[in-house]
Symmetry: C2
Subunit: 409 residues, 2 copies
């Protein structure tokens, strides 16, 4: 629909197979014809699952389904469609999810509680689940272990590029693979960032510790990005672990053998989260915001997100204007403690303010040059404590308006 984001990675990564994971995609014309818009993934019997979902009080039908299914801790299949969120669809939406679970459970001969589902797209339209049901047998017949890019592409909505990340971790001397795919470019804010992400690993980690490891990764990745402060009804991050790797099970997230896995998982999630920001609707700049000197880490994160979500900050950056006064404004409106006379603002590493005013030696030249780069670095010390946080966002451009003033058309 639009050109590929100028901030996109050069190419989709080479992703190896994950033992116990197979996928297939198909064009079901859920909303638009001529593109694959349904993904079916098979997880080997005995796979465990962890998940994090939107906190929206108007969450979609598949979110409600997944929350219940997650309590079982095991997964055999994942079904995803793009084009329709099956959100705010009432009883009919729940029935659609149940029918699809029945059909998928049938082909895999498993309990419906091991079938996970996600839907993304327009809100409030009935899901034409019969189109998906009719494709399940063909999807099942076409399962393969090597088309990660196709899978990432099938779940896209307004995304301009397919998003994938892969990492290798070591558990007890045994190499394990972590592969993730994600979609999302608007309606992105923490708790959860509006997006779908599915991460697959062959590690042998049951539901309990897997959930702990996922929560840790989310805090440092998906919950530290924002595009437009809007939170979706459909956000879901699912982590599936097939247990095919030949190490003995990790039964405690604090097990030192899981430390490398924890770091690689966090890293894979951060990679996917950054790609979502880089595909922020209309984005022309990738912006990192570091806040230090806050009362505590939570306060620092709230200040950082207030800066990141300020339309005036985001439009100034779109205009390549070193308008640091708007950063002062955003710190002020955050509601968090800050010492006006000790706020230290740096853009591109250049110190701009000192003692509550513009630094006497400040020259705009180097900052103006930094503003012309595609990656913008903002650092703010608010001068009251030791709290710190880092978040990522993108700018607010005409492209955002173009995309969102015409999404349904």
């Amino acid at each position: 629909m639009t050109a590929i984001s100028p901030l996109a990675p050069e190419r989709f990564p080479d992703m190896p197979p994950v033992a116990g994971v197979r996928m297939a995609t198909r064009a079901c014309a859920i909303r638009h014809a001529g593109r694959d818009d349904v993904l079916l993934a098979e997880l080997a019997s005995g796979s465990s699952v962890a998940g994090v979902f939107t906190k929206s009080s108007t969450a979609s039908a598949p979110i409600h389904w997944c929350r219940r299914a997650l309590s079982g801790g095991q997964a055999r299949a994942l079904l995803v469609n793009a084009g329709n969120a099956n959100a705010f669809t009432g009883e009919a939406g729940d029935r659609s999810v149940e029918r699809l679970a029945d059909k998928v459970a049938e082909v895999f001969a498993c309990p419906t509680s091991r079938v996970f589902q996600a839907s993304t797209g327009v809100i409030g339209e009935p899901l034409p689940d019969h189109k998906i049901s009719a494709a399940i047998d063909a999807l099942h017949a076409g399962l393969r272990n090597d088309d990660w890019e196709g899978a990432a592409r099938a779940i896209m909505t307004t995304d301009t590029f397919a998003k994938g990340a892969t990492r290798q971790a070591d558990i007890d001397g045994v190499p394990v693979t972590i592969n993730g795919i994600a979609k999302g470019s608007g309606m992105i804010a923490p708790d959860m960032a509006t997006m779908l992400a599915f991460v697959f690993t062959d590690a042998n980690i049951p539901h309990g510790p897997l959930q702990t490891l996922l929560a840790d990764a989310v805090a440092h990745s998906f919950n530290s990005i924002t595009v437009d402060s809007d939170t979706s009804t459909s956000d879901a991050l699912l982590l599936f672990a097939t247990g095919k790797a030949k190490h003995s099970p990790i039964t405690d997230a604090d097990d030192p053998r899981a430390e490398d896995f924890r770091l690689r998982l966090r890293d894979a999630c951060l990679d996917l989260a950054h790609q979502i920001v880089r595909d922020g609707e209309g984005a022309s700049k990738f912006i990192a915001i570091t806040v230090t000197g806050a009362e505590d880490d939570s306060s620092a994160k709230r200040i950082a997100l207030t800066i990141a979500n300020s339309p005036l900050v985001k439009t100034a950056i779109a205009g390549e204007d070193a308008n640091w006064g708007r950063i002062v404004m955003a710190v002020g409106k955050s509601g968090e403690r800050a010492d006006r006379d000790r706020i230290d603002i740096r853009i591109g590493g250049v110190q701009i303010t000192h003692a509550g005013a513009r630094h006497s030696a400040y020259e705009e030249g180097p900052v103006a040059a930094h503003m012309k780069q595609p990656e913008i670095d903002i650092a703010v010390d608010v001068g009251v404590g030791m709290g710190q946080a880092k978040v990522w966002t993108c700018d607010l451009t005409h492209g955002y308006i173009d995309i969102n003033a015409s999404y349904r058309s």
Copy 2:
């Protein structure tokens, strides 16, 4: 700089003099040459004053000055400049304010604590207060009682039209006048809406009850509007009462004789607040959002403001798209209690949802027609209680990006 907002009133209102108030404006080239950018107002000796200011922790130097001056409760003069906010200007900014207070106090032969000041414009640039000082004598010599539009025009920044409102109230059988002027079009959000507003009356009401009456008016007007969720360092609303009207003083805000004044003051403030929304940067639609059925009134207001501030709701309206799914999303992200299966959404009076899904009889035609109007009416019942609130905002368009990606240039 840009065309007049399509939502502007047809013309500036005819505003009668207020006994005890005179004003003058002058071009001081604070930021741009060739326009009046300084306003001096004289209040008769014995005038009382009330005020409400930004809650920003990075408030400007004149805000700090006014907060202190307000404790005296009396006013003799008001000095306002556009083009420079004198915010985040450190010690130098405080010195500028003091020098200006000295100069104004000198021409009016009054204590400096009766001189109120406000500045609006760019943040972080030193205020060239010598340019203003040099104009005070000429301003003083030119004071007159009949150029409200000129006064409103002198305080504009990115505003596309001058904003004024006038009301007549009755106190104890005596007619009193309430005249207000305001500026503001971006960085507008509650607590305080980012704006300057100055209201003048000849009513005889001392500081204490005047402050109570003003706080009541603000809650129902300026704190119920939002353009872009950004809060300024410089927001100020000041209400001056000269006491020239021939009624005996109102010494208690609950005095029944003050009831008509209370309502007219609220009405004048709402008129000014609506004009600010109608001049929202790039605005093409004036949007009223009513929320009912919330847990309490505060919850209703938070839900209403979440809808009003959602970039996805605002861009959908800009695109004249009846994308009510985004309203569902915004209700869900507000963090407030709502019953997904009882949410009732109406646009332009047409019921869209029923029992947590699209109403079976819903047809988009009438709503699509309403979306093409310049005034959009959204009503949401969230189905859990009796709380209600109404807020006003505008849409998010290419014009907002145009204005804010180049403000300082």
